[in-house]
Amino acid sequence: MDFRLTDEQQLIQKTARDFATQEVLPKARELDETGRWPASLVARMGELGFLGIAVPEELGGGGADYLSYALAMIEISKACASTGVIMSVNNSLVCDPLLKFGSDAQKQEFLVPLASGAKLGCFGLTEPSSGSDASNMQTTAVRDGDEWVINGSKNWITNGPHADLIVVFCNTDRTKGAKGTTAFIVPKGTPGFEPQEPDHKMGIHAAHSCTIFFNDCRVPDAYRLGEEGMGFKIAMNTLDGGRIGIAAQALGIAEAAYEKAVAYAHERKAFGAPIAKLQAIQFKVADMAMQLDAARLLIYRAALLKERARTEPSLRHSQQSATAKLYASEMATRVTHQALQIFGGYGYSKEYDLERHYRDARITEIYEGTSEIMRLVIAAGALKGGA
């Protein structure tokens, strides 16, 4: 047993921290206020190797492990949760399934530019009336000779307005339910691939999401990802990884709020002394510290297991990823709430960042599987007797 990070993990953590504090943080408030897409930061993340951290170097990636990925996600999300999720989607939801399920040709054509930061991807699973319930998917792909014709719509697609390609899940056999789902890669510019205007959201304003329409959108069979009918498995497997990224994002947001609250508690005076001297504040801080540590360890555990699963494919980490995401996201809601409380009225004001963190935290309990879905996954695992 060893709780230390390796030198390489510490180096990536430090690189991410430096980038986050020097380049991301100075823009974070403006990005939140204007909802501007952080194109230059996305480009910089590509240069730093953050858009495909865990992809092997020979495929254009950073060649690091999944724990390093989580560490970088935490640091970047701490500065700006929008930038964090843009990174998370490209790494977890696009590079990862291409690495795992893509053909050699698909890896060369799509994964190399995605992992090296030349291109950005998005992930299309959710629909207006189906999210975690993928068996109810309405988007269809129908074979026509050597091509597939895709029709339907996907929504809440993070990175959708700017992505160069989408990994999209379609129903290819209605009689088979979830097993009738197939994944496809659709590059931007394909006729019938139609991203809509960005959504208006409570938080993560600079991470644009949108609805995407597919109108007789044709792709060659060579762009099918995995076998026919394997789509649901690919989606679930991908989300098992994505949830580690979102848990890391949630932790980053919460840590940002916490550190500001701790600093503020030393500055702000009440009854003639800093409020840090008050037991009510000390207890709040202690509660937050405990929860942050718990979330961090759950995230590390899931990331370590995912890394081991690279060479031991029988290892599953669905339950551990779900645990990390459930705990970290609900923790982020609680901790940003308490941190804002320590700031009092200033926390509610746009003058400080607390209200931004508070708003940004909320989505982490929803996307890539709600807390309710996480509980289903965890309970199912517990009943099956999984560790």
């Binding site: 709780f3 207890f283 540590d293 509980r375």
Partner: protein
Amino acid sequence: MDLRLDERGEAILRRAKEQRAALAPRAAAFEAAEEVPADVFHELGAAGLMAVGVPEDLGGSGAGTVAYSLAMTEIASACASTAVTMAVTNMVGEVIAAFGSDEQRRAYCPRLAAGELGAFALSEVGAGSDPGGMTTAAIQDGDDWVLTGSKQWISHGDSAAVLVVWARTDGPGSRGLSCFLVPGDAENLRVVKREDKMGLRASHTVALALDGVRVPSSALLGSRGGGFRIAMMALDGGRIGIASQALGIARAAERAAVEHLRALPSPEGAALERLADVRTRLDAARLLTLRAAWLKERGERFTREASIAKAFTTEAAWASCNDVVEILGEEALEEGHRVDRAFRDVRVTMIYEGTSEVQRIVIGRAVLGA
């Protein structure tokens, strides 16, 4: 970073699981009899679980705190009363191994490792987590020390082969405290009262009177005035033990919930949600506890981490037992039910070896420096 156990840890864990399986069916009877029979501790001793961290040449297992924590959790999931006795005895062995003279180490460590019991006599009516307020006095008389005072909440203080007794040798405050090794059968050491408790009913908690207990100067453990340091080591380490114990109690309740839900054709969603919360909290608690144990094992500072582990885990364990009661319904609270026992046993883990409030003070100070 690697969360896998080494071979020695795996071996201890395997033996702890065997002991758990043997103990679990007996736990209800222990509670009814309000006694854990001595043979249990001899068995645990033979399995190397009574002095996990004590060096091998003193009869211990020579393993680390991580293995100890995992073993504690296993035993506690069978019988929390047995576990608390095991925890305290392990800590007494560690303290003697760390601070004792060669003579003291050789006199006591092998006996404790074999399953005789060690107790800590620290708390008093007016001194719990703050030993500075202690009033039990030790007065030098020739080559002897004479101890006078009373001690409160002493786990198995009526059946210990040796007690580590804190007493005031040199004036007020924490610097005036020293530690003594007192044999359980010492003259003028009396059990005044056995507490009637909500849980841990098979573990005896007693009040002791020291009416002029005479011990030789060789009974002084560590240096004169060094008692506070020993107390802090015992408490910090003890917190990891209690976190591990709480985790074990809650894991036993969780197992009951899993078995109950598995037997149902279609469990209610609300029950599954609670089970997921139990699993999530306990997984986090386990990691926090192992981290503190790992730090201690490496000789690094672990005060903050031990407090986090204790406060988080004991509260998570309590909440989890409560959730399991909700999942099982009223049958869980029937006398003799393992969940009823778990629910009563777990409550004290938020109190002894430093209440949750004390842990928060420690954590808050560590963070705020205030």
